[in-house]
Subunit: 491 residues, 4 copies
């Protein structure tokens, strides 16, 4: 589809004015309020001031696969301001803000291939689109979320090599996961048209930056096996991302999602949080603040002990499955809530995933459950009635309901995460001719940059930083201006 | 307007299926989950079981003026189930759930005169409609919120008497408040058609039940001056209403409203809560739980000391007006935030009212401010740009944004409030020929009923009540089955 | 005993210097810090400034029975400063601060009859001492805690009348409660010496002020039966007492007591709080803040629903007795934890009472339990080993361990309570020749005074009160300077 | 001093019975309660069961310098049970529990050189004593806290080498810090008697285990400069130490210390926490839970942003120094609160250090302040009156008041820390002939052991661990039994 001669696929270009108004509001949050006194810029917007004039990303083609939200719009336009050209898709079928997409396309900030409510086929087609740069072999840089596009490229190359060697296609019927099945079919279909498309893309690609914990898990597996073909920057593990977005972002979007989808009173309810990582910690904390009775499930004894000492019950899901009213998965694992669990639940319990993929709750399993009856209450809220008589209410078909049923994490915290993304792009691009980062390896950003991101957000919250004297800095063995902590410091 | 021969004025009858699905969900919350083991019914729904068979309200015509929400729909259908006939309007221009209204009309549960987005004229017309029973002089009972309809009747009577005496109309131009101006004009217009309509309505009316703190304030003034013409039950001051709905209900709908309207990150923000009554207490508590820095304004030294000992800053608005990011009024008073305050605020601050009427924030004042520029961001979210250069964002035009921008208080807590409304209706109706309640006086429900309402909601939260031994009951001077506390006990 | 010709019975006069230093520290808390700028005095100390010069209590003989602590010392010396003469005993065998007592006696502020570790006999003798004013028939006013001394007077009179009528004594063997047995024996012994001592005391006594919830329960029973012979002011139900001392005072002294007595880690423990009144609310809140898993037991459905909506489990004691680590009674009732419960507890659980009397936990029952073995760990911490093999650790022999094992509620909050006591004394004394207060009836202080007490404590916490405009005051139907709320307002 | 022929220097051997009773209580907390059903041992005590029979530490001579508390007594007797011989001193002049010391000596568990209230000279003499093993050149292993003894050895060696080379002594007058001056004088005095004592000790010593953040800072400096002569295990950075002891331990002992030392009401006070590391996080959280208004000072922007998003004010000390009531240092740095700050404080503010050494608050500076007047309120609580007229109250002379004024961190959390210490001792001892750990380097314990420590403490809190399926473990790339997280995971 083309809009005013600008390639894109979005829901409705007419939403662009509304989108622009809300992007402007998001901008105020993402730099925080601009200090009236000092005209000092803050946060993500500050990076435009710092790096915009010299156009540090000039010449860089960036593909992005990360929910097209109001917040992401500010990220995209920041990259644009720094000189990059951009193609973008969403990493989640239901997370696109259509008015944000419209505004981006209308102002020709980026070619967008995303709309709310994509089918799985459409989802992978959009992902493919962001690699199809006119007159070139692909992007220089990739921003990924959950490593979907990284896997797409790597699988593409694998099939191309296999086909070049054997002249045959692997049978996609053997994939149990529907996501992979659809992706593979798309790759194979493409293979018939062009035999080295993904190989060329892989060759050109300098590096990627990954946003999430589960994406990092996938990258680490690939790196360990020697299969990772590019440089990778682990944005997720910047402290200013993982300890902020995951914890403070999710605790707000969790509540937002629950309330918009169900309107249920949280006070007094028994809520099970599966997983007590940063996301789970935020969820448990805020659920309790609302007066829920929280139960945590965990496999890691250290995280479990943290949950205990914060006062949460730590139980196996089996122990509490009959008592709880709300179940939230935040485990980063799969099949954490099975249909066997659901068989034992109370009537009208609510199941929502805020973790990684849509298989934390076995939604596929529900759909195939013999005798199940599905009733759609409203968009993204389904009630499944079991033949035993009770029902469970599933949010957003098991995808992250904080994105799908609400607006995802709020702008201010995303400004932290996305400032790291911008810095990662700058690092990869400016060092492209150096040996600083090696192919096949995964890096975190230097602590100095991590601290810079934090620093850019403090003024908006009226915070004043204490300055160390030289004597004090010497005493704790750091520079007066940081970095202040060792790499192993846990915050 | 008639729908299938059923008188009503609503937005769209076609929303009825969606409304019915969500009402059914609300019902699960309002009785809580039905105990699978004991088939015991709970909450508001339990009252249908307890009082439905004997139709205790048979013959009663009830007019209601209280937001037509999913929750109110359950209240209305409970009253219907108990035998009453019902006409209903909303107490707030923006709070009607149109699909709930549609479902009620479709199933002919009540004649509804309410839609989301009424003008002030439409609002008062709807209020008038609920008194216009076919073939009769008005309702037997009135459920009111904010005393709007009570004042309508009393003013109607006053004008009728005045006109009968003097043959002239008071000039409505002298009303500074637009609400009263519109109401008065409507009354006067009606006077020309029928000179004793409101007098007849007042004569028939047995009693009213009032839902809110500010409604009670108005009633008390009328009662003190000897102007109150009917019996009144103060539902607001049932413990199971005021200490639950106001505190636990509002703390959830506050967050819901803020997030839907603005999506702002609450963590780290400085938030001013004007008023530290039950509503303010809930707001301050949850804002802090989300990591806001809370400042409370209060005139009452006892409430102020409570705020202090909970760890909130207590300051005059003048002291913090330049620093805060979000201002919430919960004072039950008027002109708490003036344009003079707004002149000094930071750019893009958010102003929202969760208290009583739309004059807690002086929205009228903003509109008249010389050189002000209004931009509508999205429905019910307006940015007013001051000529000085900064803007303020006003939610829901100063009406309760937790109702207007979100869905109001959640079902479970409304079940407590509305169970009290049902009991008030039963009390007034069944004692109509007795001297139990006197005209012109205001009563709270007996503590025994208050405790019953609480009892009906406990099982849904897995709570077990301790039973006193006779010896223990004697020792603390109560009955084994309650009531347990003196009337002055503060909970 | 006489110290420098000053009648008293205390532990050790030599502690007076230490006591004086700590009283001075308490004074800084009780007015809060004196504002350096305005030299404005606050809190209890402010009453000295307000009422000291005119000596409003000149001529009043006041007997007091309320723990002789550092805080009470400030109360006593405030009464002294206002012109009163004072005799004082403690209301708890283990709560006297011996150094505070020493300082009071050394400076001849009051005749003190109290030391830490009184036997039951000594306790009642001390109580009797405060009524034995030289050359007179007793006090004019009484400050009481738990109504012990009020009951002493009334029982004294009853026995005197009975003896005058019948010439015989009731047999004290029939009293099941040891407290009453010892008191009765003491009265009867006194009867043999003087037949109308208590009658004379009763005749002279103008009125009493009672400090606690359970004392009020006793007074109400007496008043209801027409047995109460004097005017009573219910200080407990001043908002600035019951909503502050009970809630904020106890939540701090609870933790203080637990930590000093046991040093146990609270995080992660399962803690049962028996009773969810103001004291229980404070206990549950702070236990959870420390990371305990809180379970509440309650008989009142309204309080139980409050506990639920705050997120606490509400269960019968039977349900959780096997799982909990710490049990705190705050019920105001008796035999809440029985030996039957203890038989089922885990090993080394901790039992402490912060409620009313020492029979909330059935300590008498433990002592008589067949085969029990008692080991004293340290003063006021006993381990009782059951023949079944497990042990329970009982704090302070079942008396209020927050008083006995720690220092009771902190000065600042006691300043609120005691300011009410001072105002009660002034009310009773200055109206002694009027009909304002009737014999046999119980009064709370006017709301205006309640608000004044709060006002006196705000400046110390940097709080600023908002001032109403006349328009606002009219609107909510109050005076600009208060009182702001109706009598039924619950705060 | 010898007690029954057992070398030691302690306060009073007669306290041993009381000490033993309390050690037994601590033991119940340190394994948690023993599961009645499974007779499973937990925590520190479990290590006795696991490693006691084979006496894994047989032959090891261990010197320890870590507060001799009830908790440390359980550590010492665990090491003893595993076969070690032990000499021990306290790492803090005021932190010894004399009854714990007495019990240890009485049962000949270890040679103890520690009492509460040591002078600086006595402190260093005790530290020296633990290296003077009869008939041998020193210990095999050292447990250190703050690296005091590690520095003692290294300085001893330095002076010996210097003296051997030059025949002269460095002039100790040039040391500004009194601690180092006294230590150096002691070393030099010893040099005159024996010229290679510390060299021999250094040669024999296999390794050390360090307990604290600030000790690790010192070790890292030494290691970086190539000056560290032994293997070091960084126990502090085991997750089960630093994220538990520092956070959950300190939040409890902070409150305990404040309440015992001052009895001040925390609610409503303005409290400054200097430093927002793990200790500061715990302090800020619990202070707020008690209703304090918390202000954080921080130099690290990431920690500062965490404080902001938790809702704390983040300010420079200069900004709030005039307003706050309580100041707590938890920075791990020095001269954080200077006399210049104190000059501006309100009257009777409280200053306490819970961080590292006694120079976080410049107590030396106060003492030398011209015209200062010191008044001792009670042991370890001093009021310094400035000539300007106001006073500051300093706790524990600037040493960790949570140790000195109260009992330090509670047993349960210390069981985590000390289990790591025991495992460190086992690692160092059993690998003494291997190359696993290199001299001059610092190691953390393997994550597997860290998780084991957590696992040993879960059952006591009724926690149930979720077990991963093999599929799930594969998916997140770990073993079913852990370790579950990468080394960089921050918890």
């Amino acid at each position: 589809m083309h809009t005013n001669g600008f390639e894109s696929q979005i829901a409705d270009i007419n939403l662009h004015e509304w989108g622009r108004k809300e992007i402007k509001l998001a901008e105020t949050e993402m730099p925080g309020n601009i200090s009236m006194q000092f005209q000092q810029k803050l946060g993500l917007m500050a990076l435009r001031t710092m790096f915009g004039p010299q156009k540090v990303l000039k010449g860089a083609k960036i593909s992005g696969c990360l929910s097209v939200t109001l917040q992401t719009a500010v990220l995209i336009e920041t990259l644009k301001e720094l000189g990059a050209e951009i193609r973008w898709a969403s990493c989640n079928n239901f997370s696109t803000h259509d008015h944000a997409a419209a505004a981006l396309v209308h102002s020709k900030s980026a070619n967008i291939f995303a709309w709310n409510g994509e089918t799985t086929e459409e989802y992978w087609n959009c992902n493919q689109k962001i690699f199809e740069w006119p007159d070139c072999d692909g992007p220089d840089l990739l921003i990924d979320d959950g490593s979907d596009c990284t896997i797409l490229i790597h699988n593409g190359i694998k099939y191309e090599q296999e086909f070049a060697k054997t002249g045959a296609f692997t049978n996609p019927d053997e994939f149990e996961n529907r996501e992979f099945e659809v992706m593979t079919k798309m790759i194979i279909k493409g293979l018939r048209e062009c035999g080295d498309k993904w190989t060329k893309i892989g060759n050109r690609l300098i590096g990627i930056a990954e946003e999430t914990t589960c994406g990092i898990h996938r990258l680490q597996k690939m790196s360990k096996r020697g299969e990772l073909l590019v440089r990778a920057i682990n944005v997720n593990d910047s402290v200013t991302k993982t300890k902020f977005d995951n914890m403070y972002g999710c605790r707000q979007s969790l509540i937002d999602g629950i309330m918009r989808a169900t309107g249920i009173m949280i006070s007094g309810k028994k809520v099970v949080i599966c997983g007590y990582g940063d996301v789970g910690k935020g969820c448990a904390q805020i659920m309790r603040a609302f007066g829920a009775r929280v139960v945590v499930t965990e496999c890691d004894p250290i995280c479990a002990l943290q949950a205990c000492l914060e006062g949460h019950e730590v139980k196996r899901l089996e122990t509490v499955v009959r008592e709880a009213d709300i179940f939230i998965t935040a485990s980063g694992n799969r099949k954490v809530i099975t249909t066997h669990h659901m068989e034992q639940m109370k009537n009208n319990v609510i199941l929502g995933n805020i973790g990684s993929f849509d298989d934390e709750i076995d939604v596929d399993g529900i759909k195939k459950y013999p005798g199940i009856f599905k009733e759609n209450i409203k968009p993204l809220v389904d009630r499944y009635k079991f033949p035993q008589g009770h029902s469970v209410i599933v949010l957003a078909e098991g995808t992250c309901f904080n994105m799908a049923c609400a607006n995802g994490n709020p702008s201010f915290v995303m400004s932290n995460s996305f400032a790291n993304q911008v810095l990662a792009m700058i690092e990869l691009w400016t060092s492209r001719n150096e040996t600083k980062y090696e192919k096949g390896k995964i890096y975190v950003l230097p602590k100095k940059l991590d601290e810079m991101v934090a620093r850019l957000h403090l003024h908006a919250l009226d915070a004043e930083l204490t300055e160390l004297t030289q004597e004090q800095a010497d005493y704790i063995n750091c520079q007066v201006n940081g970095p202040y902590k060792s790499l192993s410091y846990r915050y």
